[in-house]
């Protein structure tokens, strides 16, 4: 009979867990996961990438990815110097071409234009020049070029069709992935994935490409889990420090160790500088035109054969992303960071939870439920049902308390083991840990409830 009680108890724990996971009341589970992920990624950010550059491998993916930013200052500087036509956003098509074609002139490997062009503006007659100029530059450099193509079910306008036919469109929008970044959405690849293919799956792949995706994985791309983005906190060095008004603090392990405990329990102090290398659009144009030979050589080094993302950072455009360590950054930084993740980790990238992960957590919870039930059964329940009259005895109360304490201890250890296993071995993002801990806490509550009812009903 006692074995039946054990199984009944384990089943009760499991079903309660299943119910809570399925119902996810008030989205507490998802919110808990998001908070946990932010905290863990924030603490681990200074250790990204895992392969810290050494004398044997002095570079990292940080050297392969470059973000070219057009900001308020860039537009003003370029306009004031007579180098672009528009003094305000949106700048003219030919102004974009002026910037992008320079990236091709310096032989960038690939360029993703994170500007969503929908219809030709009736107030701008430079669209044809834009296409011609980019074509001309592309024919000479061989640079791969994509434009932001919106969502998978985008109803393409004639202008988008033109961009697609001449260069290429790639996904930069999706839904249903939470904070994760899909590599494919219904067989259509996203911006970072397209750039990754060009960076690591071609013959002359980057030296920093690790664990590159197998062709089978790419062919079967639809089933690849989305990326749970790992952000780095070691800022890239400025390409032109002489034109930089503020410097970023270099990483310091002492400060990191000092701050780590507070990161878990309080607001993380934001890192002002982004992880990816940044080149401002006006610096690009200015140095290309007026720079010294040394500056031009540095510009060439920063662009040649690099994966480049061209984006905007303008007040009121709302294309921003919030990083666990930086606060708000331009949206283009998300694509850059995912590309960096892919180059750095390859197919070992941190995965967002998928169906397999959910199934795994149910199996884990079934196992934890059984272990907790065994603890309760061994330390408390076996006697409890046999001797109902002793419910109020000091010994019984003490036994119940001790058994519940043991479920907490063992349960917590099991959750930590599960979390480490899924995070480090299976490369899943931190998930369900808070839900599990809540459930383990609830085991004590349920046992208390059982005891209370048993007393009332004089079982």
């Amino acid at each position: 009979m006692s074995i039946v009680r054990l199984i009944f108890r384990a089943l009760a724990y499991f079903l309660i867990g299943l119910l809570l996971f399925s119902l996810n009341p008030l989205g507490i589970g998802d919110k808990g996961d998001a908070i946990l992920q932010n905290a863990i990624y924030g603490v681990l950010a200074p250790t990204y990438p895992s392969g810290i550059p050494s004398s044997s491998n002095p570079s990292s993916a940080q050297d392969d990815v470059l973000v070219v930013l057009l900001t308020e200052d860039s537009i003003r500087n370029l306009y004031d110097d007579g180098l672009i036509q528009a003094n305000e956003w949106p700048i003219e098509y030919s102004d974009h071409a002026n910037i992008i074609s320079r990236l091709m002139k310096y032989e960038a490997r690939s360029v993703f234009v994170d500007v969503y062009f929908k219809r030709k503006r009736s107030t701008d007659d430079t669209a044809e020049r834009f296409i011609n100029s980019l074509h001309h530059a592309q024919n000479r450099s061989g640079t791969k070029l994509w434009f932001a193509g919106g969502y998978k079910d985008e109803d393409l306008s004639p202008w988008q069709e033109e961009l697609k036919d001449n260069f290429g469109l790639t996904l930069n929008g999706w839904e249903g992935y939470g904070g994760a970044y899909p590599l494919y959405d219904d067989a259509q690849s996203s911006a970072a994935m397209d750039m990754y293919k060009e960076a690591c799956l071609e013959e002359d792949s980057y030296q920093n490409c690790n664990n590159t995706f197998s062709s089978t994985m790419i062919d079967d791309g639809v089933s690849l889990p989305a990326v749970s983005v790992r952000w780095g906190a070691r800022p890239a060095a400025a390409i032109f420090p002489e034109y930089t008004s503020e410097e970023c603090n270099t990483f310091n392990w002492f400060d990191f160790v000092k701050q780590s405990p507070s990161m878990l329990f309080s607001e993380i102090e934001s890192v002002g500088c982004p992880y990816s290398k940044v080149l401002y659009a006006d610096d690009l144009v200015h140095i290309d035109k007026f720079g010294t030979e040394v500056e031009k050589a540095r510009l060439s080094e920063a662009i040649k054969d690099k994966s480049i993302l061209y984006g905007m950072y303008l007040e009121g455009l709302h294309d921003t992303v919030t990083s666990p360590v930086h606060g708000k950054l331009p949206g283009v930084m998300l694509h850059a960071m995912v590309l960096d993740n892919l180059i750095t980790y390859g197919m070992d990238y941190q995965r967002a939870t998928d169906e397999k992960a959910e199934q795994l957590s149910y199996i884990a919870w079934a196992f934890i439920s059984f272990i907790l039930a065994v603890i309760m059964w061994r330390l408390y329940g076996r006697d409890f049902y046999g001797k109902p009259t002793n419910l109020d005895s000091d010994e019984n109360i003490w036994k119940r308390k001790r058994a519940i304490q043991w479920t907490h201890r063992v349960g917590m250890i099991l959750v930590i083991i599960f979390s480490i296993y899924t995070f480090m071995i299976l490369q899943y993002e931190p998930y369900n840990a808070i839900g599990f801990l809540v459930l383990i806490g609830a085991v004590g509550f349920i046992e208390d409830l059982i005891a209370f009812l048993a007393k009332k009903l004089q079982l």
């Binding site: 930013l69 200052d73 500087n77 004031d80 110097d81 007579g82 180098l83 672009i84 036509q85 528009a86 003094n87 305000e88 956003w89 949106p90 003219e92 002026n98 320079r102 002139k105 107030t123 044809e128 020049r129 100029s133 001309h136 000479r140 800022p235 400025a238 034109y243 930089t244 008004s245 503020e246 410097e247 970023c248 934001s270 890192v271 002002g272 500088c273 982004p274 940044v278 401002y280 610096d283 144009v285 200015h286 140095i287 290309d288 035109k289 007026f290 950072y313 303008l314 007040e315 009121g316 455009l317 709302h318 921003t320 919030t322 990083s323 930086h326 606060g327 708000k328 950054l329 331009p330």
Partner: protein, 125 residues
Amino acid sequence: MKRYILILLSAVMAFTGQSNLFAAEAGNKSINIVAFDDTEVELKIDDKYQYIEVSELGELPIAVVEENKDHWLKITTTLGESTWVARSSVKTDEEPPIKNCHSIKISQAADRGQSGVRGAGEKCK
């Protein structure tokens, strides 16, 4: 007599390098193209855009005849009656603009935001 005075004045100004004085005052200071950004350049020749090898444009410097409000420079070539080149594609003999500095600390508070969309801008017609 007046003619001699004018000739004398012109000779003095030419000697002292002040020959462009009147032109500069009139906003027509002579500008010369001293370099192109690339080996090919986009030109607007008789209202048609085309790319031309810069070597076809002759020896540098090339005198700029006129500059329009969109910063296109008119030059004299044998390619057409009217040839224009964008200022953004060339380097002139003017003093280069001073390079402004940027901060690379670009992150903002996570809760920063405004409930409005950026307008089309002044340049839109």
